[in-house]
Symmetry: C2
């Protein structure tokens, strides 16, 4: 893991890095160690990148708000990464579909599925590297890990959570294609799943079917009115509470997070 | 409105009453006026009553936890009220259906629909009487009003919210029959709607269709795994926050509620 820059502001330290040519960014509370600290993996949406507004806002909630660490990667074909002709086509096609109120095409579903196949081992490698960094820091490995990503973030996150046992909880949503069913069935951790009731990009029946397919015994669906881009702010707050509830489950985790267990309990 | 008993404990005053032979109970913070105070109408489930555990717990959250007032009534044929042969049949049939894992029968749907037709004007009369009581107390009328009731509570609450403009927000759920569609379309206030994903009493498709039918521009569905009786505690906390967000919207309401506006904002 090669760190390329570091800056701190408002009690948060941000470090840009690359790992095997995959660009990422790591946030943690300034001056506090990574070891034992809850870590949230933040996935971005199609056409987005690791420092887009949606990612940065969620990182702020996790790190400034809850004392967690957070990490985001540029998905294959996104952000600073090399872009193929297919990647260019994907970015423009997503925008066109949303503007025209049309559902995800079979081509887009295949393309994002291929992105996920590349991205899953990249995330696993990042977790390995962060675990080594944590142990090198103060002898303690990674804390509990959660995943938070919608749309393309979930296309990647669902097979990631199915494959990666270190992920203990996830916030998914805004996706639902038959090609995702098999991986969803292999997810077993607590899940919060978001649906936009009037989502034209991701037809409702597909999203509900994907929620149904999730193997987790503990899963909750939240559906709000509006389209793909209309997830209300209240769902961000709610997801933050949900992740905190599951990542701060033990007294050790709460201490590592730098907030009192009592304060955390009151915030639930 | 004829009050029959009064007791106070833990900062909450409970007053049992009857209004035109309808038994009810009113809770408010001890020593604080009703006028201007957010008021939550609590509906109980089929076979339940106004002082069942579910109602009392929610009253505690609203009154002790948030400084609101709360009121519950025995639904027709329930609690202290005269019970017809049909009422007896309903209570036992609900229990049998749940035990056998069977869906609500057409007879039960018709029966609860008839209960709702009787209950709606009873709730309206209670609101009128409480409004008069509030004004007589300190010259200020009712504060903002919310409704919180699942299952039979929603069978009554949905047509009540459709008819009664004083209701500003509602928590509904665990119901979904075609006979409810017309009233649901006439509901326009913000709604939180609960579904149990594996509810055998209320098949999922019907519950989702009822959510879809709700006329409210602002509505959110929360679905959790499990059966009709398995709504998780987290949904109670979440509903409490949702009602508070909508009932404490103005500085006046927050002051009347007896909690600081800042504290309320932080608790969102």
């Amino acid at each position: 893991m090669h760190f390329t820059s570091e800056s701190s502001a408002d009690g948060v330290t941000q470090r840009d890095f690359t790992l095997d040519d995959v660009p990422g960014v790591l946030w943690q509370p300034e001056g506090l160690p990574l070891g034992g600290r809850p870590l949230v993996l933040l996935g971005h949406g199609g056409g987005g990148h690791k420092l887009g507004l949606g990612v940065v806002e969620r990182a702020g909630r996790c790190v400034r708000g809850r004392g967690f660490a957070a990490v985001a990667l540029d998905a294959p074909g996104h952000g600073e990464r090399k872009r193929s002709a297919q990647d260019e086509r994907f970015a423009s096609e997503i925008g066109q579909l949303i503007a025209a109120g049309r559902p995800i095409s079979a081509w887009v579903a295949r393309h994002t599925s291929a992105l996920a196949e590349r991205a899953v081992p990249e995330w696993v490698a990042v977790l390995d590297a962060l675990g080594e960094r944590a142990e090198a820091g103060d002898g303690e490995g990674l804390g509990p890990v959660g995943f938070w990503g919608l749309s393309l973030g979930s296309v990647i996150g669902i097979p990631l959570a199915a494959a990666e046992p270190r992920i203990a909880v996830a916030v998914f949503g805004l996706t639902g294609h038959g090609s995702q069913t098999e991986a969803a069935e292999r997810v077993g951790v607590p899940v919060r799943f978001l649906v936009q009731w009037d989502d034209q990009l991701v037809p409702r029946a597909g999203a509900l079917a994907l929620f149904d397919a999730l193997g987790s015994r503990q899963k909750t669906l939240h559906a709000n009115t509006g389209g793909h881009l209309d997830v209300p702010e209240t769902e961000l707050e709610s997801a933050e509470r949900f992740l905190t509830h599951h990542l701060s489950a033990g007294p050790g985790a709460a201490e590592a997070a730098g907030v009192g267990a009592d304060a955390d309990a009151k915030r639930q």
